[in-house]
């Protein structure tokens, strides 16, 4: 039997990797993938908690998370396409017209 701690640990590791990805990567699509990784990491925790407590609310929340992730994916892809068409780059470090 794998303990709750291990699930939470894996989830935490994935989450931190996702956060670091957002901090470091420059390609908008990759940054976006890292955000999705964060959401998935949280899902692992949610399911683990839910299973260990025998309560379904956590699992239901996972559905909503997936749903939201998908919606964000749609909007996100559209925005990335638009930014690429406007700037001919998806490198977020070069997209800095707005500052100060």
């Amino acid at each position: 039997m794998i303990g709750l701690e291990l699930y939470l640990g894996v989830s935490a590791v994935l989450f931190v990797i996702g956060v670091l990805g957002v901090l470091i990567r420059k390609n908008a699509i990759v940054v976006f993938m890292c955000v999705e990784l964060m959401l998935s990491a949280v899902n692992i925790s949610l399911v683990a908690f839910s299973a260990s407590m025998g309560d379904v609310h956590g699992m239901i929340l996972v559905f909503f998370v997936l749903c939201v992730a998908a919606a964000e994916a749609c909007v996100g892809l559209a925005i990335v396409i638009a930014i690429y068409r406007n700037n001919i780059t998806a490198d977020i470090s070069k997209i800095n017209l707005l500052r100060w």
Partner: protein
């Protein structure tokens, strides 16, 4: 009648709305200048009549009447009403505000006759009266603060009335910003009062004064005083008032001499009970007042702009009032507020009349085809005006006698009482300081009489100097003429009041010494005794009479000295001689003690320089000279923070994660 007190406040507001809205919307209405003017005047005169009626129905022993209109803010335990308070103090202030206000409205009809923004001017004036009445009639601190901010906004609008003139717009901003510094202190004082008493209503505060233990009383008193230094132009926040003379002269007379600037004195008098519990705060008030009085008086000595002299004289007289407050003479301060309103308004309006005439001369010369450009406010261009403007001269002279403290004129009584209180305070705690302040005050009184006669004599006596000074102005004298009746009538009324106004507060010992029975000739003292606390005068008769004698000698001496030095066109020669004699001291006075420069050097410029240097890196254009004391410091840090805002998402995410660590750190550990 007291229940109709709300009408006093509301009628000026209605006047403002009618003139403002009709003027904004209808081109035709703007041309109906007499309609606009009289409407605005009646919007102040009717409240005066109501206030007078209420005044007649009251006596010295009347209980305060509070008229609650509706609840303004209500949240849980905190409520604040729109409520007006009718008591001896508020009705006195209301009478001064509406009375002097009415006269100045009448005067303005003549003075502003040819101005494009006629309707706007009168709408603003009405709005100012409305705000000022809220200030003096309010029954709680929040409503008082509303009026306090309101008069600030109106003064901002009126100083910058001729907005096309950049200098005037800057002066308006300066006034507003220096006032905000004071307002901030006032607001904090208000919060402290609320925290201590749990209410902002005057009734509740005054009946719970015992809750203010030592430290809180001191801090509330000091913070309120800082608020007062902003509004009433005391050191260190006084620099805005002389610049505020950029506004039209009636505005200077109404706002910057008679009413708004005295609101600080009103506030402290209102809270006299609180101040009496904190001798340290009283001492601070007195010291600041004394320093301001002498500093402003010496600056006034060196000025040539007729309005600037009056402005510094106002600052100096306000200092006198704070001296009175600081030594426990709250009634004496109010007395001086009232008499000062009479003679200073008269002086300002008289100077306005002179400037009006000088402008007319310039205009007519222009008409003749001679382009002579001179400063119509510079008294070195004047002289000998008494023959051309007899009414203006006579009223100006009466008011000068009053401000100089020549016996029987109103200023004599009020100034004498202030000196008596100062000397009296010397017997109590911090006695030595008060004696020193008394000496300073006597010196200031001497200077006051001196520079005021310097002004009057240079302007009205001798010969008209303009023809000799400017080419093409040889026949300028024939265009000099007296101002219209709408301008001279208010002058005469104010001069009459300046002449007899002092008799409302004849010191009792004038009578008791001779009759050796109790007498109540000091009407003002009796009238205000119920609403203010005041220190008791414990000086023996001999000392009192000696003080009176000193005051008379000083005033008369200064007058005679000034007459000998400045009559018969000796003005400029004398000034040169004085400059010679006092050397660098005189230069300091002339530079206004370099207050403006100090603010500039210590706060504004370093801020600018640093901001410039930082911003130059990014080639960002810095604000165009429009900077102020608080602004620049904060601006500097602001521009530093721009480094962080790089525009790159990764940076933002890093800041986010730093924030997360901060929050987790704060909450878990």
């Amino acid at each position: 009648m007291a229940e109709f007190v709300w009408l006093i406040v509301v009628i000026p507001l209605i006047g403002f709305l009618i003139n403002g809205l009709l003027g904004l919307s209808s081109e035709g209405y703007r041309k109906q200048k007499s309609v606009i003017g009289w409407l605005a005047t009646f919007a102040v005169f009717v409240p005066f009549l109501i206030a007078f009626q209420i005044f007649l129905e009251m006596n010295a022993g009347s209980e305060p009447v509070v008229v609650r209109l509706f609840t303004w803010i209500e949240a849980g335990s905190f409520t604040s009403d729109i409520a007006y308070r009718v008591d001896q103090l508020s009705i006195l202030m209301a009478l001064v505000v509406t009375g002097v206000g009415t006269l100045i409205h009448i005067y303005s009809m003549g003075y502003m006759k040819t101005d494009e923004g006629f309707y706007k001017f009168f709408a603003y004036l009405n709005l100012f009266i409305f705000a000022m009445l809220n200030l003096v009639m309010a029954n709680n601190l929040l409503l008082l603060f509303l009026g306090w901010e309101g008069v600030g906004v109106c003064s901002y609008l009126l100083i910058g009335f001729w907005y096309k003139d950049m200098e005037k717009a800057t002066a308006a901003n300066k006034a507003f910003i220096y006032n905000r510094v004071g307002d901030f202190a006032f607001l904090v004082a208000m919060f402290l009062v609320f925290r201590t008493v749990g209410s902002l209503d005057f009734d509740v505060i005054f009946s719970n004064l015992h809750l203010f233990n030592g430290d809180i009383a001191f801090w509330v008193a000091v913070l309120m005083f800082i608020g007062a230094t902003g509004k009433s132009a005391q050191i260190p926040l006084f620099v805005w008032l002389p610049d505020a003379m950029a506004g039209p002269t009636p505005v200077s007379a109404l706002i910057h001499a008679a009413t708004m600037v005295t609101s600080g004195i009103y506030l402290i008098t209102r809270f006299s009970g609180l101040y009496m519990t904190s001798p340290e705060a009283m001492l601070l008030v007195a010291v600041i007042g004394g320093l301001t009085a002498i500093v402003a008086a010496t600056i006034a000595l060196t000025q040539y702009d007729i309005k600037k002299v009056l402005a510094y004289s106002t600052v100096s007289q306000l200092g006198f009032m704070f001296l009175a407050l600081g030594s426990g003479g709250f009634v004496a301060a109010m007395f001086h507020v009232v008499t000062h309103a009479f003679f200073k308004a008269c002086l300002f309006l008289g100077s306005g009349s002179v400037i009006h005439a000088m402008h007319h001369v310039e205009h007519e010369l222009e008409h003749e085809g001679k382009h002579v450009h001179f400063d119509p406010q510079d008294m070195r261009n004047m002289g000998g005006l008494k023959e051309y403007m007899p009414s203006t001269y006579k009223t100006f002279l009466i008011s000068t006698f009053a401000i100089a403290g020549i016996p029987v004129f109103s200023g004599f009584f009020s100034k004498d009482e202030i000196l008596a209180y100062l000397f009296n305070a010397g017997l109590g705690e911090f006695g030595a300081v008060y004696y020193a302040l008394w000496g300073l005050a006597v010196l200031t009184a001497f200077l006051t009489a001196f520079y005021m006669f310097r002004l009057t004599l240079t302007t009205f006596h001798g010969t008209f100097k303009l023809p000799g000074k400017f080419k093409g102005a040889e026949n300028a004298a024939k265009y000099l003429h007296e101002s219209p009746a709408s301008m001279t009538a208010p002058l005469w009324i104010l001069a009459a009041l300046a002449l007899v106004g002092g008799f409302m507060g004849v010191p009792e010992f004038f009578v008791t010494t001779f009759t050796s029975t109790d007498a109540t000739v000091n009407w003002l003292y009796a009238w205000l005794s119920g609403v203010t606390v005041r220190a008791a005068i414990i000086l023996p008769y001999g000392v009192k009479w000696t003080l009176v004698a000193i005051a008379i000698v000083v005033a008369v001496g200064a007058t005679i000295l000034a007459y000998r030095m400045y009559d018969n066109d000796k003005g400029e020669a004398t000034d040169a001689a004085i400059r010679e004699r006092f050397g660098s001291l005189y230069a300091t006075w002339e530079d206004k003690y370099k207050f403006d420069e100090a603010y500039e050097a210590m706060i504004i410029r370093p801020g600018n320089r640093l901001a410039d240097r930082v911003l130059a890196v990014f080639d960002v254009k810095i604000l165009d000279g429009f900077v102020n004391a608080i602004g620049s410091i904060v601006q500097f840090f602001g521009s530093l923070l721009r480094f962080v805002q790089t525009g790159v998402i990764n940076t933002y995410a890093i800041a986010f994660v730093v924030g997360v660590i901060l929050i987790i750190g704060l909450l878990i550990f």
